[in-house]
């Protein structure tokens, strides 16, 4: 993934691979005002270490954000501020996972979690999703099987709302059942919810945390998608015994998250602008999602299928099983467009015919052009497969049409067989007999 991101950051490439929010939609003057205010009022605090669990003001802001998603009554003392949401995944693994321990995740799962789980040598068991999110019936069967083997998962990792990369949202009945399963079997859930506030249509659903009351659910939140990815501020809210262990793990990892970044969040939230800014992001991304969905319908053809997310930043497209998207990416990069191959979202080699497409990070025209270019290489491969299987006949290349020198007079050309110009595109080779 890191190599892919480095490659796709090249300016000529339309990257539908990243998970980037569009920070050009955040007013630079607001950033200037906030940072100037920090410098004027609290530069010493901003430039100093802070408490491991985070600055009080930020934890208050986090409680406000969670309340906006229906999680009211959060005690700021239960909030651990982290260096982005990614650190929560790392800390939970660091706290709970020994080599060989089982983690349950969705299939596919967040590509950024894959190397993290791998680095702790976890045995990740992935549960299929459908349009209603993780299949809880399959989860229960898997848990029964694991129990029969004497194995208990350390936690269930899920992104129930606007899944990355799946683009689907877990239905309310499944949310309720998942929370019940966790309670019945005394299993921890890590609920990763970076996109919950980025809903473009439909009614909000309660988070697993609010359904559970915080007894078996570790909640992961982040400011990356609702304010700024660059400030790297996320958080965890966890049952008390887990919270204490996460806090110790964070001390070991980085002592504390950046005080300057935390003060940026706290100062910004005091301004009361965040809800208005969130609406700006939502409107922007909703339009881009619609452009991507329209473009897919126009350019991907009937062989492909894709999800239609009600929010978030991603959708998941699946091609015929004879197309390997890891290989397809090579052709796509030749066309200066990139996506995340599906295998990046699996730990067991699945996902070979799927891809994650991001619609938040690039402008509408680029989304359409990017999807058109991917569609072109998909069609090439579908056509080639057709000739290989006999489903489509092989077609001899059309004979070259000799070029007539535009500078020649009609009369002069009439009695001469024109030869292709040697400096024209492969004219020499095509003209040879």
């Amino acid at each position: 993934m890191r190599d892919l991101m480095a490659l796709t950051s090249q300016p000529d490439i339309i990257s539908l691979a990243g998970g980037l929010p569009d920070m050009s939609a955040f007013p630079a003057e607001v950033m200037g005002k906030v940072t100037a205010q920090i410098a004027a009022e609290s530069s010493v605090k901003a430039l100093q270490y802070g408490p491991t669990e985070g600055l009080e003001d930020v934890r208050d802001a986090i409680a406000e954000v969670m309340a906006a998603e229906g999680m009211t009554g959060i005690d700021p003392q239960d909030v651990l501020v982290t260096s982005g949401g990614q650190q929560v995944i790392d800390l939970v693994c660091r706290t709970l996972i020994d080599p060989g321990d089982v983690i349950i995740a969705e299939a596919p799962t967040y590509p950024g979690a894959v190397p993290c789980f791998g680095s702790f040598q976890a045995d990740v068991v992935q549960i299929e999703m459908d349009a209603d999110g993780m299949r809880i019936d399959e989860l229960e069967e898997t848990l029964d099987r694991l129990a029969a083997e004497g194995r208990t998962p350390k936690f269930i990792y899920t992104i129930p709302t606007f899944h990355n990369p799946g683009g689907v949202t877990m239905s309310l009945p499944r949310r309720k059942r998942l929370v019940e399963v966790a309670r019945e079997r005394e299993l921890l859930i890590l609920e990763d919810n970076p996109y919950g506030l980025l809903r473009y249509e439909g009614e909000p659903l309660p988070t697993l945390y609010s359904l559970d009351g915080g007894e078996f659910v570790i909640y992961l939140g982040t400011f990356s998608k609702i304010l700024s990815a660059g400030i790297r501020v996320g958080w965890a809210v966890a049952p008390r015994p887990v919270f204490q262990k996460l806090n110790i793990g964070k001390q070991a990892a980085d002592l504390c998250s950046s005080s300057l970044s935390q003060m940026f969040v706290a100062t910004y939230f005091r301004s009361g602008l965040w809800a208005e800014q969130l609406d700006v992001f939502k409107e922007l991304y909703r339009r881009r999602r619609d452009v991507m969905l329209d473009s897919l319908a126009d350019f991907f053809g009937p062989e492909a299928a894709w999800t239609a997310p009600q929010g978030g930043l991603f959708l998941w497209a699946t091609l015929p099983d004879y197309i390997d998207t890891t290989d397809l990416l090579v052709r796509a990069l030749e066309e200066n467009v990139a996506f995340v191959p599906g295998r990046a979202a699996y730990l067991d080699g699945r996902g070979g015919s799927s891809m994650r497409l991001n619609f938040s990070g690039v402008a509408e025209d680029d989304i359409r052009e990017g999807v058109r270019r991917i569609g072109k290489v998909v069609h090439e491969q579908v056509a080639l497969y057709g000739t290989l299987t006999g489903a489509a006949p092989a077609v001899p290349a059309a004979p070259p049409v000799p070029a007539i020198d535009a500078g020649a007079t009609p009369g002069a050309a009439a009695n001469v067989v024109p030869l292709p110009r040697r400096d024209s595109d492969d004219g020499r080779a095509r003209g040879s007999r």
């Binding site: 090579v330 056509a383 000739t387 290989l388 092989a394």
Partner: protein, 277 residues
């Protein structure tokens, strides 16, 4: 990945050159390569680069155009080794044992109906068959095909990387790697035990391949001792890695050829060589 190998290899060679008393200037190969080469104007260029531009002969060609002696095989040799189809034809025509193969262009399938010939090829090579792009490294686009139904998908994948593909009989056995320096074979590497006769035969085949391709400096020849006990040549790598953990370096050590001595020999030989016009 290839860039990481290049950087490790380059750092190791640079350290050796400095120990040997040479004035070493490292060049990270980018868009300004020619300008950098003209500025530095070296007596010898030590190629410690991996990936397409080094292995297909592009960098060698540039050096030869600029009249700069280099430690690797010539651009022509690189082109022969890099193209697996060309390399296989050369080996077969010269009578070197190599797994049976066929090759097709994408146009053959798109325009000439080559798909109808696939059953004949599949019968001739017998499954499993290895399908791979004619050019490329790191096994990208390479698939093991164990049935006719898997063949179209494997071909689509291989054609992603090149317009020509190689369909090769899959031979099983023990991998044998022989590194060759200045035409002299080093001790072979094999995870199994090789008889003295196998060692002699592997080294003889490696030198024959070296000579056939016209290698210079150093090269690595990959062979296989099949389950029937026959040695067969798989491929020739004319710009092998010189990183610490590479087969080439390990082979040099096993052959009592210290790394610094190897580097010194390659530089001296390059300095004496004639640059092709």
């Amino acid at each position: 990945m290839e860039r990481q190998i290049s950087l490790r290899c380059g750092a190791r060679v640079e350290a050796a050159l400095e120990r040997l008393g040479h004035e070493a200037v490292t060049i990270d190969v980018r868009g300004d390569l020619v300008r950098q080469l003209r500025t530095v104007d070296p007596e010898v260029a030590f190629i410690a680069l991996h990936g397409r531009e080094a292995e297909d002969g592009t960098v060698q060609e540039l050096l030869e155009v600029l009249g700069i002696a280099h430690t690797a095989s010539s651009a022509a040799v690189c082109a022969r080794c890099w193209d697996k189809v060309l390399a296989k034809h050369l080996m077969r025509d010269a009578g070197l044992p190599t797994p049976d193969f066929h090759s097709f262009s994408e146009a053959a399938f798109r325009e000439l109906g080559a798909a109808e010939a696939l059953p004949v090829i599949e019968e001739r090579l017998s499954f499993p068959i290895i399908v791979k792009p004619a050019r490329g490294g790191l096994a990208l686009g390479m698939k093991f095909v164990s049935s006719a139904t898997q063949m179209p998908g494997a071909l689509v994948a291989a054609f992603t990387y090149d317009r020509r593909v190689l369909l090769e009989r899959h031979v099983t056995g023990d991998d044998v790697v022989v590194s060759v320096v200045d035409g002299e074979p080093l001790p072979p590497f094999c995870h199994a035990t090789l008889s003295p006769a196998d060692v002699t035969r592997a080294q003889q085949l490696a030198v024959e391949a070296w000579t056939l391709f016209g290698c210079r400096g150093y090269a690595r020849i990959d062979l296989m001792r099949t389950v029937e006990g026959e040695l067969t040549v798989l491929e020739v790598t004319c710009v092998p890695s010189l990183a610490e953990d590479s087969r080439m370096s390990e082979a040099a050590e096993a052959g009592d050829l210290a790394f610094d001595v190897l580097v010194d020999r390659l530089v001296e030989r390059a300095a004496r060589s004639t640059i092709p016009a």
